[in-house]
Amino acid sequence: MSPWRQLGLRNRRAVPLRALPVEPVERFRESVIEAVGEGRRLAALFGMPEGDDRTRLIGILADDAGGELGATSTVVGDRYPSLAAVCPQAHGFEREIAEQCGVVPEGHPWLKPLRRHDPDHLPPARRAPPADREAYPFFRVDGEEVHEVAVGPVHAGIIEPGHFRFQAHGEHVLFLEIMLGYQHRGVERLLERGDRDRSVLVAESIAGDTVIGHAGACCGALEALARSRKTPRGQTVRGIALELERLANHLGDLGAIAGDVAFLPAASYLGRLRGECLNLLMALSGNRYGRGLVRPGGAAFDVTASMAAEMRDRLQRLGEELDPVLTLLFETPSVQSRLEGVGAVTRAGCVEHGFVGPVARACELPRDVRHDHPWGIFRFAHVPVATMWAGDVLARALVRRLEIQRSLAFTIEQLGALPKGQARVDCGPLRPDELAVAMVEGWRGEIVHVVITDERGQVRRHKVVDPSFHNWTALALAVPGNEISDFPLCNKSFNLSYAGHDL
C-alpha cells in the first residue's frame, strides 16, 4: 500500500505538509503512473522551491469513484525522468514545471514552452536564462499541396489572444497546434504575495467568465487551511451563484454556436437570456459576473427574502422563454446537420489525457466535481450529472442544454429553501505548514486550487489548474480530420479560457 493513499486528503480538507509522502523520484513516478493506470486522475502536478537549490514536485491524484484525493511528492534538482511518455495526463503539467521551476523532465515527448515566460518559481540559489518569447518550434507537415494556416493572436472577433497553426491539405486539417501564453499575467506569483484581500481579487480575475468558480476554489482552500466555520446559508448562496454562472455561460455559448452556423434567431434570443442570468448575478452581488460575492468565510452579500422571491420568478420566466428557443435550435434539421459528427473527441482520449467538464461528459464520462467530490450545498442537494456519448459538437451542446435545465431547477429550488443563519463568518488565520486542495465544478469543468502554507501560516505556494489547462489538448485533438472552416464551430463548442490557461 503506497503511503499517499492514507493521507486523508479530500476536497477542502487540509493535511499537515509533513504527512505528505516524499518518495525517491523513481518511486514517485511509479506511484503516479500506477495510480493513473488504476483509473485515478492527475488533478495537479507542480513544483515548489525546496531549500536553496531543490524543487519539490507534488502530484495530486483524484479518485473520482471514491471521492478521495491522494498526494505524493519527490524532491529533485534541475532534472528528473519525465512521466509524460507513459502518462499523457502529465504532458502539460511537466511543460509547466520546466517553465516555472527550470526543472527539465528528461525524455518528455513534446517539451515546448507552454506560456513563454521566465521561471518564476526557481529555488533562490538557482539561475536560469530569460525565456525566448518569440521562438516557438511549430510542428510542420511537409508535402506537395500541404499548406500552413496561421491565425492569431489578434483574431477577427472579440476574443482573447492565442495562436492556432493549422497544417492543412486543401480544406482538410491534418494537424493543429495551439500556442498560448499571450494572456500570461503572473497570476500564481500574485496569489503568493500574502495579502488575502488582493488574492481573492486576483482569483476573481483568473478567468473573467468564471469569477464564482475560481473565487470559490481559492476561498475553499483558504477556509480549509483556516478551519473556518461554514454556514449553510453562505454555502447555499455560493452554490446558487455558481449555477447562475453556469447558466449564463452555457446559454451564451449555445447562442454563439447558433451564430456560427448562421442560425441567427437562436443566437439573438440566447444572447439576451445570457444577459438575464448576468443581471441576476448583478442583483445579488452588484456586478454582472458576481465579483465581490465569494469571500473567505462565506458570501459577502446575502439573499433577502424579497430578493429570493423575485429571483425565483425571473428564473421561472427565463425557463419558460428558453424552452421554445432550445427546441427551435435543436430541432431545426439544418442546425443539427452542422453540429453532428463535427469535432469529435473519443472517450479513450478523454481517459488518456484527463479531459474534464462537458468535454468529458459528452463522451459518456460522468466526471463532475459536484457529484464526485461534493462540497458545500452540493453535499446535500444533488444535481444529476448530464452525459452524452458521441463526443462531437452536438453532444457537447446537448450536455450544456441538459445542464441549463438542471441548473435552473437547482437554483429555483434552492432560492425557495434558503437555510437560516449568517451568510458569512470570520475566516481566521491560516494554519502553518499545511496543504489544502479545493475543487469546484466550474462551467468548463474541474477547477483546482492547491494552497500550501509555510511555517508562519503565510501562503508558500498557490497552484491553480483551470479546466482549460486540460481541455485545450482536446480541441487540438478534435480538429484534425475536419474541414478548416469548421474550426470556429469546434472552438466555440469547447469555448476554452485563454486567461485561465495562461494564468
Binding site: R133, V154, P161, E321
Partner: protein, 269 residues
C-alpha cells in the same frame, strides 16, 4: 417555419431605450466610487496599506485623491476605510478623455467630451473598432461582446467591431498589456490607418487592475499607446462603455440622462 415566427413573436422587442430612456440598475450595483472628505481627512492613514487597489492616492502634500481608473469596484476597497468614507454610487457614467479626468478628491470624473470636429467629420456618424485583448481575464471582452446583443445593440449607433485593424478607426484595448502581447498590440496599432483612436476599457487597461505590479504586465496601455478614451470598471458595465463611446461621437452630452441629453446629429457638408 411557423415555429420560427412563433418564437420571434414570443421574444418581442428587447432593445433598451438607452440613451433616450433612463437607466435602471439594481440597488446593489456598484457604480462610480464616491469619497466623503468629511470622513476621510487629508493625512488620515487608517486605510494605509489595507486597500487592495490604488483607488486612493495621497499627494505629496498629504491630500487624498480618488483614482476611479484604479478602482476594481470591489466591496473590499470600500471596506478598507474604517470610517466608511468610500462608498459606491449607482452612477454608471465615468468614461473620461484624459487619465487626469479620472482623478479627483471626491471621485468626480470629468466626463468625456466629443472628438475633435475634424476627426468626427472624417469618421462621419460611425465608428469602426478593432478589439485587442492583451493580458486580460476575458471579463471586459465578454462585456464588449454583450454590447452587440439585442439589448444594447451597439450597431444602432453606427458603432461596429471589425475583423481587421485596416478597416478600423481605432482600437479598443482590454487587459494590462502582458509582455507576450505587447508586440502584437503595437503591430495592430500600426496597421490602423490614421487618424486613429485608442479606447482603454477596464481597470487593467488603465492601471493594470488586479495584476498591477506583476513583472509580466505593463500596468496598462497608457505607457504604450496614446489613449483617447478611458473607461473604468472591472469589467465596465456595457452602459458605461456605451456612454463613453456615445460621448466620444458627440451623441450624448451633459449629464447623459433624459431626452435633452441627446445631441443633434452632426452635420456633414
Amino acid at each position: 417555419m411557423l415555429d420560427w415566427i412563433r418564437a420571434r413573436w414570443q421574444q418581442g422587442i428587447r432593445t433598451s431605450g438607452f440613451p433616450r430612456d433612463g437607466v435602471d440598475l439594481p440597488d446593489r450595483f456598484r457604480g462610480r466610487p464616491v469619497r466623503d472628505p468629511a470622513r476621510c481627512a487629508d493625512g488620515c492613514r487608517s486605510c494605509g496599506g489595507r486597500a487592495p487597489s490604488a483607488l486612493l492616492t495621497a499627494g505629496t502634500d498629504g491630500s487624498v485623491a480618488v483614482d476611479v481608473g484604479a478602482c476594481l469596484f470591489s466591496p473590499d476597497e470600500a471596506a478598507a476605510c474604517p470610517e466608511g468614507a468610500i462608498t459606491y454610487g449607482r452612477d454608471h457614467r465615468m468614461a473620461a478623455r484624459t487619465r487626469e479626468g479620472l482623478r479627483s478628491p471626491t471621485g468626480e470624473v470629468e466626463l468625456a467630451r466629443a472628438l475633435e470636429a475634424r476627426t468626427r467629420a472624417l469618421f462621419r456618424r460611425s465608428l469602426r473598432l478593432r478589439s485587442v485583448a492583451a493580458g486580460s481575464c476575458n471579463g471586459c471582452e465578454a462585456e464588449l461582446v454583450a454590447l452587440g446583443n439585442v439589448v444594447f445593440d451597439l450597431a444602432r449607433f453606427g458603432i461596429q467591431f471589425v475583423a481587421s485593424p485596416r478597416h478600423a478607426d481605432g482600437l479598443v484595448v482590454t487587459g494590462a498589456v502582458s509582455r507576450n502581447m505587447r508586440s502584437a498590440l503595437e503591430r495592430t496599432w500600426e496597421a490602423v490607418p490614421p487618424p486613429k483612436i485608442v479606447i482603454a476599457v477596464g481597470a487593467c487597461a488603465i492601471t493594470g487592475g488586479p495584476f498591477a505590479g506583476s513583472p509580466e504586465v505593463a500596468d496598462g496601455v497608457g505607457a504604450i499607446l496614446p489613449v483617447d478614451l478611458w473607461v473604468p470598471g472591472c469589467p465596465p458595465h456595457p452602459l458605461t462603455t456605451l456612454d463613453g463611446l456615445l460621448r466620444l461621437l458627440g451623441t450624448i452630452e451633459g449629464d447623459g440622462r433624459g431626452p435633452g441629453a441627446l445631441a443633434a446629429p452632426p452635420r456633414h457638408g
